[in-house]
Amino acid sequence: MRSEQDIAIQITNLKKMYRLGTIGGGTLQGDIQSWWARVRGKEDPNSKIGSKAYKKNESFMALDGIDLTVYKGERLGIIGHNGAGKSTLLKLLSRVTGPTEGEIKIDGRISSMLEVGTGFNGELTGRENIYLNGAILGMTKAEIDRKIDQIIDFSEVRQFIDTPVKRYSSGMYVKLAFAVASHLDSEILIMDEVLAVGDMAFQKKCLDKMSQVSQDEGRTILYVSHNMNTIRQLCDRCIVMDHGKIIYNGEVEEAIEIYLGLIEISKQIIDLTHTQRTKRCSEGIKLQSIELASHDKWQFAVGEKIQFKLTLKSTKALQNIGFRMRVSCADNTSVSMLLAPKLITCEENQQLSVALEADISQLAPGKYYLTPSLYETTDVGTQDFYDHMNNAVIIEILATENFNENMEWESRWWGNIMLPPLKKVD
């Protein structure tokens, strides 16, 4: 049993409340009015009529009672959906903002990398920025003097180290920034998806470096990511957060499974009129809805084909608009693409619907995201988008009885596509 002395971070009943909507009256006058009304015990002239419980109704608990103990040398992964409270937790830990309630006790120096290159100044050279950034992250000048050569070597930008960083490519910038951050001496490192940058080789280098400092020097690492693969590589324990609470704390694989289980399958009719578009798209034609025709839920048995209907609305007369849907797994790696090139031709201001069949029988059991888009190809092989919505449809493929001889199809090892079985030939 580990004793209290081995604790690096102890969090008790941590809460963080945010007020929703605009903050304060926005002007000095408004705030003074509200304050004066409160002093006299009258109703706030700036609050909405009848909303006496102003504080309760308009607040939002980003963190709602977190209890967590992290031991020294642990590499803890934190996963959860957007808005689950991961980043808020990291912000409180790195003291960027304060808690509303509760307490965090920390043993050891903490350094947080919520972003790489914080405080970099474009006018200063790479070398000068190493000193500035290092000092912001808590190093003393003497420490940086000692490590400057290691840092420059790690960053792979020695050639440009005396050039102002505004002339750097974004990749070089990030490499330099990460090099500084990874040479911190602090006992606790907090990272928020900083590794999602740089080229593949550099990413691997960063992960290796992180594992190495944690194992060799016994440092504690807290790591937030949406990329399940890096969580698997780096972490030895994982928590899952949802709506400001910790819903699971333990094994990494188990945590990832729970996290993926939180994804909700789409309903039969998907209304896309208010969905956020995730690419810059030309005006002309937009998807209104996608309606599943063959099933009543986007949940299918393995091997099934599906039929669905698109409803579209045009504002221009267009020809040969293609439709496609990217299929990606829950950890956001692409699996395949469902294509319908040159599908739509329309008049100006027309409402139209198209029925389609998709053969997804080769998809392995699991949950998948579909990203629908409307596009037009040009003669030179480029494409223009008319519509694009990341992960707008969520589907699940269920294993049937006797599927795969009742062995679990673990996509981590088996992949996401089932090719037709091998045939014996004579």
Binding site: E4, Q5, I7, Y18, I23, G24, T27, L28, D31, K91, L92, L93, S94, R95, V96, T97, G98, P99, T100, E101, G102, E103, I104, K105, I106, D107, G108, R109, I110, S111, S112, L114, E115, T118, G119, N121, E123, L124, E128, Y131, L132, A135, I136, L137, G138, M139, T140, K141, P164
Partner: protein
């Protein structure tokens, strides 16, 4: 055995919890901020650091022209150019500290929002940068006064000149205090950001930068004018280095009281805002 924690984070309740010890640990950062401020100020300009010299000289030339020649304001019998130069140099220290710090929170939101370090390092380094600027500009003043002396112009340096360090510290504290009060308030009320720009301009005209306080002597307005904490400081500067004007000791005392009050108020407000400002900025 009770465990020793490096840090305990709680909702802040104490009014004054300055954490000066921690700020001192980050002294290298303060120094690097100062170096950054100075280095980046005139990067990619043709004249570079020469601007340090040109600014006060140019404004003194204009002041001499407008207020000395055209308006014909008295400069207490000392060379007009030196009179205006020492005025602008001291004013630049005060206004530099004020405007430089008035945007601490909003201007640094992208850094403060991502990483923790004692926030006081930022205003401290701004004040040091301004003092550094002052030293250079004051050296220019000394060179100019030597030139005027060799030309045979009449002025005298009195013992009050020895108060220089005290006066410099006072102006820096005052400017920084006002600056951080404004920066603390601008996290919520952006109105003040607009005000600072022309407010400082107007403030200059109610301080004895382009005229002598003696112009007002004997009038009722004089008392109100001298309650402006900057006024006695500039008067003492002039009296010390030019022998012109007056030595309003009583008003200087009041000015120190005002300075200390404003500075402490600024630090308390800064300290209160510091912890949660990222949620409102």
């Amino acid at each position: 055995m009770e465990k020793q924690w490096t840090a305990v984070i709680k909702p802040k309740k104490k009014l004054l919890d300055l954490n000066l010890k921690e700020t001192f640990k980050y002294r290298d950062l303060i120094w690097l901020f100062v170096v950054r401020n100075i280095k980046t100020r005139y990067k990619q300009t043709v004249l570079g650091p020469l601007w340090f010299v040109i600014q006060p000289l140019m404004s003194s030339v204009i002041h001499t022209l407008v207020f000395g020649t055209i308006a014909g304001l008295s400069t207490d019998g000392v060379p007009q150019f030196l009179f205006y130069l020492i005025g602008s140099v001291t004013w630049a220290l005060f206004s530099g500290c004020l405007t430089g710090n008035s945007n601490t929170f909003v201007g640094n939101a992208h850094v403060f929002g991502k990483v923790y370090f004692p926030r006081l390092t930022s205003p401290i380094s701004t004040a040091i940068t301004q003092m550094f600027n002052f030293v250079i500009q004051f050296a220019i003043y000394l060179v100019m006064s030597l030139i005027f002396f060799l030309k045979g112009e009449v002025f005298q340096i009195t013992w009050v000149a020895a108060l220089l360090p005290l006066l410099v510290i006072q102006l820096s504290l005052l400017g920084t205090g006002l600056g951080i009060i404004i920066s603390s308030l601008t996290t919520k009320y952006r109105d003040l950001q607009v005000l600072v720009g022309f407010g400082v301009q107007l403030f200059m005209y109610v301080s004895p930068v382009v005229y002598s306080a003696n112009e007002l002597l004997g009038r009722k307005l004089y008392i109100a004018f001298m309650l402006n904490p900057v006024s006695p400081v500039i008067e003492l500067f002039r009296y010390g280095w030019l022998g012109a004007g007056s030595t309003p000791w009583m008003y200087w005392g009041i000015s120190w009281v005002t300075t200390v009050v404003i500075f402490l108020l600024g630090v308390v407000m800064f300290n209160r805002v510091e912890k949660n400002f990222m949620d409102t900025v």
